[in-house]
Symmetry: C2
Subunit: 439 residues, 2 copies
């Protein structure tokens, strides 16, 4: 007797990511009730299962969806508005004024949709966001069928979202409540950075995060200037300050971390915190080189993120994975640093671990949510195929992503979005361009 | 009276590259006898010209084809065979044995075709190659309709192509003669590197290159080891040796140049030589960081190349341009280093200049060969469009290249090859994979 399942995928290669570096040839994956139900040789699959839907994916690799562990999704509307500028001029003269003028619910709605469309088409099934109106981003993500961790942003300065630290946290708690029972939309506290959030707010974040058992998402040690400023204002480096405030813990996602001393690496490793590496943003803003190889050798879980499209300028996790693997070798001076399989882990399971979602996503394991993608390796640019994982990291492009499922729901089919209307998104992007460019 | 032309292209943006940073909105380009005949506002174009063929390209940018200034095209058949290994183990234990066993005319034929297909699809219209059987690569390139500079390779050690320095040069001269009157296939001397070619051969290369007025293409200062070895064997750094041999000149294309002292940068700038930067290969092999910003500030012409697919692992000039622009900022510690327009110049006109082909290609200028590409910027990943050049360098992918012409011949149409059969290429790549993987 064969068992009923919802969907049965037959493919040339399954790359479950856990265990690392495993490639299963001519295997099939069965999905039932939105979860990964079985992975088995194709020759056994048709007998074992009676599927509602069967899909042949010859020449494709099936792998977990990519996890973009640091985004400011709505900033996609500012993509390419200002490039090639020193960081402070970029922020003070371009990005902050544009945000101050334009950010509102509508901006976040349209920007999040544009970003989500780009992410889904490129094989990203989960993103970890930090921006104003996280409720809007969460609703848009939920409707589009992408998994998201929306950041409950906190800042010292007023914005269209909140007037002060108290209001940021208050509104954040309301957003948390709103998504409490949503299986796709998760929350994290997102105090912007040590230099933009005062001690009392950071302390309350720690207490609330412990209470609600959600992660804390913060920019940390992004630039040398940030460290010098902290030494002047607080007489200690930013990480020391977070340690004093009790924030170094397995709940912490520290973004960037391009400037670390040896004892800081050891301290952070001991804390069990997670680092999100954003290589393209770090390069583009000339922030510094993250010592990925040393961090991983120290046992730190390192995930991967694109950062916002205003400083990248894409939300392309294939490109980010490629850049991460290459840059780690250059920075370590060792061509064997960050091999392909480890880069793939960074972009998947390490992201899940950082977000506290390891039981749910990040790998193709029985019982996990069916968050997965099929990539067509039968393109000339991926030929010949000696090692599929090498092709995924070093040669494939996001345009080879053909099918995407999140929690078993197909959100990209044959390279097209199923939950969002590209024509409408193009129109909205054009309208925002008109408004913003002419201001 | 309107003038007759062969092809008239109407598009949203024309980016001629010369002058740098110019974007012509709603312009048209006319092609006649394989050359760029006119560039003018679209509103005037239909009256001015009567075209054999008219093509509307709404939402597209038209720009010069990309020039990949350093390749080993046939090595595409070894793509991903061995990754994540220290340089010497990669070469000694994997690449050289595979080459020794497999390289022959058939390998070079099939490998070159695969590489050319990938390059054309990705918007590359000219490549500068260094490999065995340059006659085969030249014939394949000519048939496929891509412009190429085939390297007349020279080495100290015997190969299936030639037994010794004399035979390498002799066969090289025959290849040069073979393509002497071919408008698409050019030649350059290609002594592999100072460490693999002895002084007498390098001296003859200099004499012959002067006589034939063709460039010299050589790997130089790729790694620190190369420099240390030269100090031991020749009591001087490799560049000094080339200087003593009279090879530092405007005919020289020095590839990589990741390790340079201040006086070497000044000396090279004075010589008028060209540097080809291969950022992804340099990172992947942990060769060192090329100081692109300093080289360009010193007035050196810096072009861009992917290197072979065994060490990259793609022949993607969009990705290479993106990486070059980002990495230059990181290395310089300056977010304003290598702005988008300069990266675009590196990938086009600077390559033409290095190859001695500036009068023929590398920019959209009247009278130049019609080597050009149309990129669809109307994709979500390129939206919104504040600055088309920024989108090309920082956000676009090669999959957005839709139309490619070389010398007025359309070689990619609506994203498909017109001169090569992808099914046959896939089949051949698969056959080589079987043979090589099982050996």
């Amino acid at each position: 007797m064969s068992e009923k399942v919802d969907l049965l995928l037959h493919t040339d290669w399954i790359i479950p990511v856990v265990p690392e570096n495993l490639v299963l040839e001519h295997h099939s994956l069965a999905i039932k009730d939105g979860r990964i139900h079985a992975i088995l040789p194709t020759v056994e699959a048709d007998q074992a299962f009676q599927a509602e839907q069967v899909k042949q994916l010859p020449g494709h690799a099936l792998m977990p969806g990519l996890i973009n562990a640091h985004t400011h999704a709505s900033m996609s509307l500012l993509r390419g508005l200002a490039d090639d500028l020193p960081l402070m001029s970029w922020l003070n003269d371009h990005i902050w004024p544009a945000e101050g003028k334009w950010v509102n619910e509508e901006f976040v709605h349209d920007g999040s949709q544009l970003a989500i469309a780009e992410m889904l088409l490129g094989g990203t099934t989960c993103f970890n966001d930090m921006y104003f109106f996280p409720d809007v981003t969460g609703r848009v993500a939920d409707a589009a069928g992408i998994r998201a961790v929306v950041g409950l942003i906190a800042l010292d300065f007023p914005s269209v979202w909140a007037a002060d630290g108290d209001e940021y946290l208050h509104k954040g708690l309301l957003v948390h409540d709103q998504f409490r029972n949503n299986p796709l939309i998760h929350t994290a506290f997102a105090p912007h950075a040590p230099y933009s959030v005062a001690d009392p707010v950071l302390e309350r974040v720690r207490v609330l995060a412990d209470e609600l058992e959600i992660p804390v998402h913060i920019h940390l040690h992004e630039t040398n200037d940030e460290i010098q400023q902290s030494l002047q204002q607080h007489a200690c480096r930013p990480m020391t300050r977070l340690q004093q405030l009790g924030l170094l813990s397995p709940s912490l996602m520290a973004i960037h971390m391009t400037h670390l001393e040896d004892d800081e690496i050891a301290l952070f490793a001991d804390s069990g915190g997670h680092i999100v590496h954003c290589p393209e943003s770090n390069l583009k803003l000339a922030s510094g080189f993250c010592q990925v190889n040393r961090l991983m050798s120290a046992g730190i879980n390192v995930a991967l993120g694109t950062d916002g499209a205003a400083s990248n300028n894409d939300l392309n996790m294939f490109s980010e994975m490629h850049t991460a693997a290459l840059l780690a070798k250059g920075v370590a001076g060792d061509a064997s640093a960050l091999p392909a399989a480890k880069a793939l882990s960074m972009a998947t399971i390490n992201g899940a671990r950082a977000l506290g979602l390891e039981p749910e996503t990040g790998s193709l394991e029985i019982g996990k949510s069916a968050d997965l993608i099929a990539i067509d390796l039968g393109r000339l640019q991926s030929q010949p195929i000696y090692h599929p994982i090498s092709q995924l990291v070093y040669a494939a492009g996001r345009e080879q992503v053909r099918e995407v499922w999140v929690a078993g729901r197909q959100v990209v089919s044959e390279g097209s979005l199923t939950t969002l209307d590209p024509e409408r998104l193009l129109k909205r992007a054009g309208e925002w361009r008109e408004r913003i460019a002419e201001s």
